[in-house]
């Protein structure tokens, strides 16, 4: 049975998983043969983290159709929660790195999900540009709150402070989060394999959600809000659901990201970071999960490959973004895409004529 005989939906799902698994096998093989440079192998975990972030943001931007500019905020909530959880567990004698990572990721995802839910309640009253601006603001608020957060752990348990590390009131013990200096002395327990597992989980959650009762409702709200309401769909609930799930997944990716470095600081998770993730989604195509995976991996590797012009990275992103917006409108591109599409779907007949006439909607 050829892959063309499957439903388009099933086919794209299989292709998406295949991309991740093939990439994993290829990289592992190349690594074993010693063909991957040191700087590139250091990028493997961040690539996985960014792929997860792009896929989860695609759930909000592509599937739910809301422009969110605060994704890095939820990533940081996950990252710092994960650091605290890992720090506590280490203190209380858990040494298995796998257990540490899994527990940190789960708690980090839960924390980011809860924050996402709470942020989502006011944000989901808005639409379009207003929503984008408010998510941006919440992202910055989260960053600034983390900037003044001090967390330490000693035998008595966890200590929190919003003033300085001295007011934690610990004589001995470890400071886990030290305000603007961020989290220091993190165990580097993220591995490429864990990253790939997280990517697969993220992809599975997003795809399974998309192709289900709730996912259809989310996409229906995106396509036509008024019609969705008219058939009894609770619009706010489904927008909030997409936002919360995406936040939780971003939190888990944040844990993966943080556990790859010995230090993470809150200022890393700023507006630029959110925009970076958005670029991956836009480049890969809104609602296109495999596109997000490829573009996130590609754009994370690109600066490494083009190390000499690394300082022009943001310029490059701007150019890529502009090209992505301009190119699909070029006649040459449209013709090429059309002929490609025809070649691939020779057997499936195009549905009759496109909607003729009809009043313009809105």
């Amino acid at each position: 049975m050829g892959i063309n005989m499957l439903k388009p939906q099933t086919r794209s799902t299989i292709i998406t998983y295949a991309i991740v698994i093939v990439a994993f096998v290829a990289v592992t093989l190349l690594d074993a043969m010693g063909l991957i440079s040191h700087s590139l192998s250091g990028q493997l975990v961040p690539i996985c983290a960014y792929v997860s972030l792009a896929v989860s943001l695609n759930l909000v931007v592509g599937v739910s159709g809301e422009l969110s500019l605060g994704h890095a905020g939820f990533m940081s909530v996950g990252a710092f929660t994960g650091v605290v959880v890992a720090g506590c567990l280490t203190r209380f004698g858990i040494e298995s790195e796998l257990v540490l990572f899994v527990l940190s990721a789960v708690v980090g995802a839960a924390a980011a999900g809860i924050i996402g839910f709470l942020v989502g309640i006011p944000v989901m009253r808005l639409r379009g540009d207003y929503l984008a601006i408010v998510t941006l603001a919440f992202g910055e608020i989260i960053k600034n709150l983390l900037n003044i957060l001090y967390v330490g752990v000693d035998d008595a348990g966890l200590h929190f402070s919003m003033r300085d590390s001295g007011s934690l009131g610990m004589s001995q013990g470890t400071i886990l989060i030290n305000g603007p200096k961020g989290a220091v002395g993190i165990d580097k327990i993220s591995t490429f394999a864990l990253g790939i597992v997280l990517v697969l989980i993220t992809v599975a959650v997003v795809l399974n959600l998309m192709h289900s009762r709730d996912g259809r409702a989310i996409m229906a709200v995106r396509d036509n809000r008024i019609a969705a309401e008219s058939i009894g769909i609770n619009v706010t609930k489904y927008r909030l659901m997409a936002f919360t799930v995406a936040s939780a997944l971003a939190g888990a990716a944040g844990v993966l990201y943080a556990m790859n470095y010995s230090t993470v600081v809150p200022s890393q998770f700023d507006f630029n970071q959110s925009i970076l993730i958005l670029v991956y989604v836009v480049l890969g195509g809104m609602g296109n999960i495999s596109g997000s995976i490829v573009s996130a991996a590609f754009l994370t590797v690109l600066p490494e490959v083009l190390r000499p012009i690394n300082q022009y990275r943001m310029l490059l992103y701007a150019i890529v973004l502009i090209l992505v917006m301009v190119v699909p409108h070029l006649k040459v591109y449209q013709r090429a895409a059309e002929s490609l599409r025809r070649r691939f779907r020779k057997d499936s007949p195009e549905p009759a004529v496109a909607a003729e006439g009809g009043e313009a909607d809105e």
Partner: protein, 291 residues
């Protein structure tokens, strides 16, 4: 065309209308039962403009009721009030005996009101089948966690949605189009899909906003047949806005004429055709011929 005229003729003879206009136009068979829809002194103001005022209507459980009137009379506004897209300024709307005060459009739908739109509003990037499956949303539940974990209940639900959606699409012989993108369908098929999607929510009252707009005479004839078929099969009330008088006069048992937001006449098709106020609203006042 004559086939349908005869059909409608027979209908009218079998269901005697209440003869008094502007009181009730409910067919006899629905008289003893709670009406599908009851509006009392319904009205809405846009600024100083009374877009709809003192709108009273009772629609029987299996009645096909027409809402007609010149352009800008407020017909679609009435539909928007009934579905709570607009919150009424005055009056009450009872659906199946329940007051809809304070409900949002989604809740009103769950009470049993489904509608189509004058400007087609489909979920264009979803397939035809998915459009209907979304309509089935509240008919069968399957939680988010169940779907994400792909538990057995998810697969059972998907199978159920699939079967039910195809069954509903079959009403309009559209099962063959199930996998096409809704936005790529021809105009007439999009209108039919909207009706199927509305039916999927298992309504007690179906509101059709210009279902025959843009259709040619043979498509319209088919649509008329289907509207009656839907009523007979699902035993629901249907209220429709339509400018095609052939359709309205042939399948509606009761007609309500709106002008400047007010009901100017109610009655059977025959009564409406003879009504002076209606003729005046459509054609203008006849000038007094000076002797």
């Amino acid at each position: 065309m004559s086939k349908f005229t005869d059909f409608a003729q027979r209908r009218r003879e079998s269901t005697k209308m209440v003869p008094v206009p502007s009181v009730s136009i409910m067919p006899e068979r629905d008289l003893g039962k709670a009406p599908a829809l009851e509006c009392l002194h319904l009205g809405i103001d846009f600024g100083g403009l009374k877009a709809v005022d003192d709108f009273n209507i009772t629609v029987g459980r299996t009645e096909i009721c027409g809402l007609i009137g010149p352009n800008g009379a407020g017909k679609t506004t009435v539909f928007n009030l009934l579905t709570k897209v607009y919150a009424p300024t005055r009056g009450t709307i009872m659906v199946d005996g329940q007051d809809t005060a304070g409900l949002d459009p989604a809740r009103v739908n769950r009470l049993g009101v489904a509608r189509t739109f004058q400007n087609i509003r489909l979920f264009n990037t979803l397939t035809v089948e998915e459009n209907v499956a979304v309509g089935l949303h509240n008919q069968h539940h399957c939680g988010m966690a169940t779907s994400i974990l792909r538990l057995p209940h998810h697969w059972k639900s998907e199978k159920l949605y699939h079967e039910r959606a195809l069954e509903l699409l079959d009403i309009f012989d559209m099962a063959g189009l199930a996998d096409h993108e809704a936005g790529s369908l021809p105009y007439g098929a999009q209108r039919r899909l909207e009706i199927v999607r509305a039916l999927a929510t298992n309504p007690k009252l179906l509101l059709l906003d210009e279902p025959a707009a843009g259709m040619n005479p043979s498509e319209t004839a088919e649509l008329m047949e289907n509207i009656v078929k839907i009523r007979d099969r699902f035993q629901i009330a249907i209220m429709l806005i339509e400018h095609d008088m052939n359709l309205v006069m042939n399948i509606c048992e009761g007609i309500c004429v709106l002008n400047f937001g007010k009901i100017i006449a109610k009655g059977t098709p025959e009564e409406i055709q003879r009504n002076d106020a209606v003729i005046e609203a459509y054609l203008g006042k006849q000038k007094e011929v000076e002797a």
